[in-house]
């Protein structure tokens, strides 16, 4: 720990050269295999099964768009929705549907895995020119941050936002290096992004934070080469570009509805604060604290923009655990940068006794190793995970596939009560039948629908009335869910049991006689 010392503090981070010199360019190219190899290795983390409950209804919507265009109203729920359909991810949904149609879930997994890995690769490149950060440090940082954020990656629209944020971070970095042209990549980027995922607001927030921080820093005497006006102009155009989407300005209302929904932020796990009893949040906390310690250990004060972004992203993560991926993106270049600075500072304090001269690897050796790593990752992790047998098994075990099939065959058109998390899967299984009540598009359903759902889910007073009022006399639920236990207690009958996902199809029955023991759902006929 570097501690109480009279601070001969240089201003902020090392000023950057406006353009890379030839040796720098050579070093950058020589380090590229490290980064490509690390990104390829990170595919083992970013290539994930369909674990996000929302992926299913996005897939269903994508199929509908391909058939009939973007729906005007909510397409799956028998109760409809109070708010109009926004179609905020229509492009992602179309892409997802096309990928699944072309190569099954495995192809979509692979594609989104590449997007996730690319995001961290881009983030690792977002360091100032002239800093000379060793490629191994960048590669290690990439892998660490990707691992820590791995739980929220996979096949989901948010991964697009992760990539978009990384690209914005790279653009801001190049802008601060003095490149005026880089910022004009922003409007087209946001045009595409706003049609892929509503998380583009994170990118705009990053841009505004960068402009404000640089302006303030310059005002207090800090060395800043970048001109703020071009960035602000490009940001303004990017903001306008986000209006070019099927919903127009209503897209912004959708975003506001999502963020201001108190029931959503309190009830949905992904919107809750991280649980530090789990392993990966601890790792992420250690990384954040580690970077703050590295700030103190280096020779210079941290770059003010780095501090603003890290503190902002950390605050967003503490609010909602789904923001861990954005924090990881912000963290990736900083970890490499400040670890390198601290390492160099320590070496200055304790010069090596025997000067070492690194040997030079033969030309192409780095690329050969990177190709080997990429090949090994694809063969040992990606291909087995994306094989159709694996994805089918995952669907059978993770989702009520057999139960849904049985319900579709024996209870066609019945209004099914199910979990919020399973609503998307059932919606996708019965796209034209409107059998589900609610699923993950909470901004369209509004706060009241979510609260009504919680009346049943939390067995609040009147939960049976709520089911009856909405005409739900059938249910597809996990056996060990409290609604299942309660329904069996009050006379619902298990129609069939899906052993693969440990779920059951239930039908409402008469109240059992006094003292009667409820049936065991696992003894019901197999679905």
């Amino acid at each position: 720990m570097n501690v109480v010392t009279a601070p001969p503090l240089p201003t902020v981070a090392a000023p950057a050269a406006p353009a890379p010199s030839a040796p720098e360019r050579r070093r950058g190219v020589a380090g590229l295999p490290w980064l490509v190899g690390a990104a390829a290795l990170s595919l083992a983390v970013t290539t994930r099964q369909f674990a996000d409950p929302d992926v299913w209804w996005h897939l269903g919507v994508g199929r509908i768009i391909l058939e009939r265009g973007i729906p005007a109203t909510e397409p799956f729920s028998f109760a409809g929705a109070p708010n109009g359909w926004i179609g905020q991810q229509w492009l992602y949904e179309v892409g997802l549907a096309r990928l699944v149609a072309a190569g099954g879930p495995g192809l979509a997994m692979a594609a989104m895995g590449v997007v996730g890995a690319a995001a961290f690769l881009v983030a690792a490149l977002a360091t100032r020119r002239g800093e000379d950060i060793p490629a191994p440090a960048r590669a290690a940082s990439l892998l660490l941050c990707c691992l820590a954020a791995g739980e929220v990656l996979g096949v989901r629209g948010q991964v697009v936002t992760v990539l978009g944020t990384a690209v914005v971070l790279l653009v801001v970095t190049r802008w601060r290096d003095g490149s005026q042209r880089a910022v004009w990549a922003l409007p087209p980027l946001f045009l595409v992004w706003a049609n892929l995922h509503a998380g583009f607001v994170a990118g705009l927030a990053l841009l505004l934070a960068a402009a404000a921080t640089v302006a303030v820093h310059r005002r207090v005497g800090g060395e800043e080469r970048a001109r703020v006006r071009p960035l602000l102009a490009a940001t303004g155009l990017a903001g306008l570009a986000t209006l070019v989407n099927p919903a127009g300005p209503r897209l912004w209302g959708y975003v506001a509805d999502t963020f201001s929904n108190p029931t959503l932020t309190q009830s949905i796990v992904e919107w809750q604060s991280p649980n530090f009893h789990s392993f990966w949040p601890r790792v992420m906390a250690a990384l954040v604290i580690g970077v703050v310690v590295l700030w103190a250990l280096g020779r210079c004060r941290p770059d003010p923009l780095d501090a603003v972004l890290l503190i902002g992203a950390a605050a967003a993560w503490l609010q909602a655990q789904r923001n861990v991926a954005l924090l990881a993106i912000v963290l990736t270049p900083q970890l490499a940068r400040y670890a390198t600075a601290a390492w160099r500072r320590q070496r200055e304090l304790r010069p090596a006794r025997v000067p070492s001269r690194p040997g030079r690897a033969p030309a192409g050796f780095g690329w050969a190793v990177a190709a080997l790593v990429a090949g090994a990752t694809v063969v040992t992790v990606v291909l087995p995970a994306t094989a159709s047998a694996t994805t089918a098994r995952h669907e059978r075990e993770g989702w009520p596939a057999a139960a849904a099939a049985w319900a579709g065959q024996h209870r066609p058109g019945a209004r099914l009560y199910s979990l919020y998390e399973w609503g998307g899967y059932l919606a996708q299984r019965f796209p034209g039948q409107r059998v589900v009540w609610i699923y993950g598009e909470s901004a369209v359903f509004g706060d009241q629908r979510l609260r009504d759902y919680l009346v049943v889910h939390d067995l609040q007073t009147g939960w049976q009335d709520m089911l009856a009022r909405n005409g739900m006399h059938d249910a597809v639920l996990p056996v060990e869910e409290r609604e299942t236990v309660a329904m069996l207690e009050v006379g619902w009958t298990p129609l069939c049991y899906d052993g693969a996902s440990d779920s059951v199809v239930l039908e409402q029955g008469a109240l059992p006689p006094r003292g009667a023991t409820p049936p065991d759902p696992r003894s019901a006929p197999s679905c």
């Binding site: 720990m1 570097n2 501690v3 109480v4 009279a6 601070p7 004060r301 067995l459 309660a486």
Partner: protein, 563 residues
């Protein structure tokens, strides 16, 4: 000369109090009494009180659990016996109010120790940390204390943990004072730890923090980091720590007390099921103050880049602990607030100041007359007093069976149960076990579970969790344990389920609780002997018309006296 010197010091302190900063700090400290003083919110408080009453009655510690019908054979490591005896003694002397005021004073003492630690002379820059004489001003201290008091709001209140909070603050103050100024005051920790080991198992925190400081100092010397303390003082710290650890053994449980403390910290069932052990919810505005402290501390450290290694180690440790469990925010406040204050002071000093022209000489404003100073102090300190007094009086006047507690604890249900036949086995909510232990176990009833999680054991906690969370085993767990009656919060899934289940019959209902008996012959027999709801109402109006009986005639039940 000495008298003159101390007189001038006193005058200087009096003058410092009348500066705007001094007034701000004094007002903050005074206003801190408001959040720190509250009625009982900690569900464990009640069973501690009952345990203390039993110890005083029996003139000895309790060997096994006297409250439950589930783990009554478990050996009870009474690691807080002295606190429990103090609670019972204070309760006999002045009722609940005296306990509330005493624990509020204890918490305030801890906060005062934080202010004193932040006010210690700052070391001159360089190695071996000699005191430079400059002290942090009252404004940063006031701001830091204000933020800390807000951040600790979920934790404050009458509870045994406040003793650990105050003693941790005192320990860290004495350690820091010793490392900066030397002297023999550090040895006072040895008798303090002897008492602490009998008050609360949080002594491990105090000893752990001392160990962290000691190890950091050793490492700092090994790597020649600046900001470390002189070698002799570190050596003394090591000796004092060893003596403290030895003194801990002086308790009725001997060395076993160490094992107990660690059992609690590393129980997965406790960490999962008990809300206080959960990670902080940052949607809560109050927890936001803690987040603000952590994030602003990171920024300030990045700006000033001046942190003593021991402070950094304590900050990192307590941030990690507080992120893990919301109850540890109190430890974060105890350990890290002085660092936050010092950083704020350092950041404020980075601001470029206007140089004074040499010719102008030192510009000093004329001092205001004494009556003006006294007047200002009086107004600044007297104005908040009514608010503080009102809060303290309100908290101190509460009684355990008053309407004040009827919204959070089963006050009316306990009255009703006290009118029921004795010897009932009551399945209860975890957070209400302590209150029921105080109110109904004296008459011979037994409860399913209460808040001494280590005594309950992980197996019972998990069984309880399967009922509260309504797994398929919920009914079996209750019936296999021999439960006679269930008393649970009305606004819970279990109460809703029981009220609709054909296997249970509701026999009592009020705004806060409902009671159910099994729909069996045995349950019918019990139901016939249960009292009417009127038994809960009493004459004081605490349990009003909301109390209803869901069953028919009740047998005549002998009234039982409250404990």
């Amino acid at each position: 000369m000495a008298a003159d010197g101390s007189g001038s010091v006193r005058r200087g302190r009096a003058r410092a109090l009348t500066t705007p900063g001094g007034l701000f700090l004094a007002a903050v400290l005074l206003m801190s009494v408001i959040p720190v003083t509250s009625a009982v919110r900690d569900p464990d408080f009640w069973w501690h009180l009952r345990a203390g009453q039993l110890i005083l009655d029996q003139h000895g510690l309790l060997g096994t659990d006297p409250f439950t019908y589930t783990v009554s054979d478990h050996h009870w490591v009474m690691h807080e016996w002295l606190t429990e005896v103090l609670f019972a003694g204070l309760h006999r002397a002045g009722g609940l109010g005296l306990i509330v005021i005493t624990l509020s004073a204890v918490t305030m003492a801890g906060i005062a120790c934080i202010a004193l630690r932040a006010r210690l002379p700052l070391p001159a820059l360089g190695h071996d940390d000699p005191p430079g004489g400059r002290r942090v001003g009252p404004v940063p201290i006031g701001v830091g204390i204000l933020l800390a008091v807000i951040a600790g709001y979920p934790i404050w209140g009458p509870r045994a943990q406040m003793e650990t909070f105050a003693l941790t603050c005192l320990t860290l103050y004495l350690v820091e004072r010793h490392l900066r100024l030397g002297g023999r005051a550090l040895w006072a920790l040895v008798p303090i730890f002897a008492i602490w080991g009998n008050l609360h198992s949080g002594f491990t925190i105090g000893a752990g923090f001392m160990g962290v400081v000691l190890m950091t100092e050793v490492v700092a010397r090994r790597f020649n980091w600046s900001g470390r303390a002189p070698r002799e003082r570190v050596r003394t710290l090591g000796l004092v720590l060893a003596a403290c650890l030895a003194m801990i053994v002086l308790n009725p449980n001997g060395p076993q007390i160490y094992l107990y403390a660690f059992q609690t910290q590393f129980s997965p069932a406790q960490q999962e099921l008990i809300q206080e052990w959960h990670s902080p919810d940052f949607h809560d505005v109050v927890v936001g103050a803690f987040a603000l402290m952590v994030l602003s501390l990171a920024v300030m450290v990045a700006v000033t880049r001046q942190v003593r290694p021991r402070d950094a180690a304590l900050a990192l440790l307590t941030i990690a602990m507080a992120l893990q469990s919301v109850r540890h925010i109190a430890l974060f406040i105890a350990a890290t607030t002085p660092l936050w204050i010092e950083q704020l002071d350092a950041v404020a000093r980075l601001r470029p100041r206007q140089p004074r022209s040499a010719s102008a000489g030192p510009a000093r404003r004329p001092e205001p007359p004494t009556f003006f100073r006294v007047g200002v102090v009086a107004i600044a300190l007297v104005l908040p007093l009514p608010f503080v007094a009102a809060k303290v009086a309100a908290a101190a006047q509460t009684r355990e069976d008053s309407s004040f507690y009827a919204t959070d604890f089963p006050v009316c249900a306990a009255r009703w149960l006290n009118a029921a036949p004795a010897g009932l086995r009551v399945f209860n909510q975890y957070g209400e076990g302590g209150y029921l232990a105080l109110r109904i176990t004296p008459a011979g009833d037994r409860i399913f579970i209460f808040g001494d999680a280590a005594l309950m054991g992980d197996a019972l906690l998990l069984r309880y969790g399967s009922v509260e969370g309504i797994s398929s085993a919920w009914n079996g767990v209750m019936t296999q344990a021999g439960t006679d009656i269930v008393v649970f919060d009305v606004a819970t899934p279990l109460a809703t389920l029981l009220s609709q289940s054909p296997r249970w019959v509701e026999v009592y209902h009020d705004d806060h609780n409902a009671a159910f008996v099994p729909a069996t012959q045995r349950g019918d027999a019990l139901r016939a002997r249960l009292p009417q709801a009127g038994a809960a109402r009493g004459s004081d109006g605490v349990c009003g018309s909301s109390v209803t009986t869901a069953v028919g005639p009740a047998a005549t039940v002998a009234a039982r006296t409250l404990p």
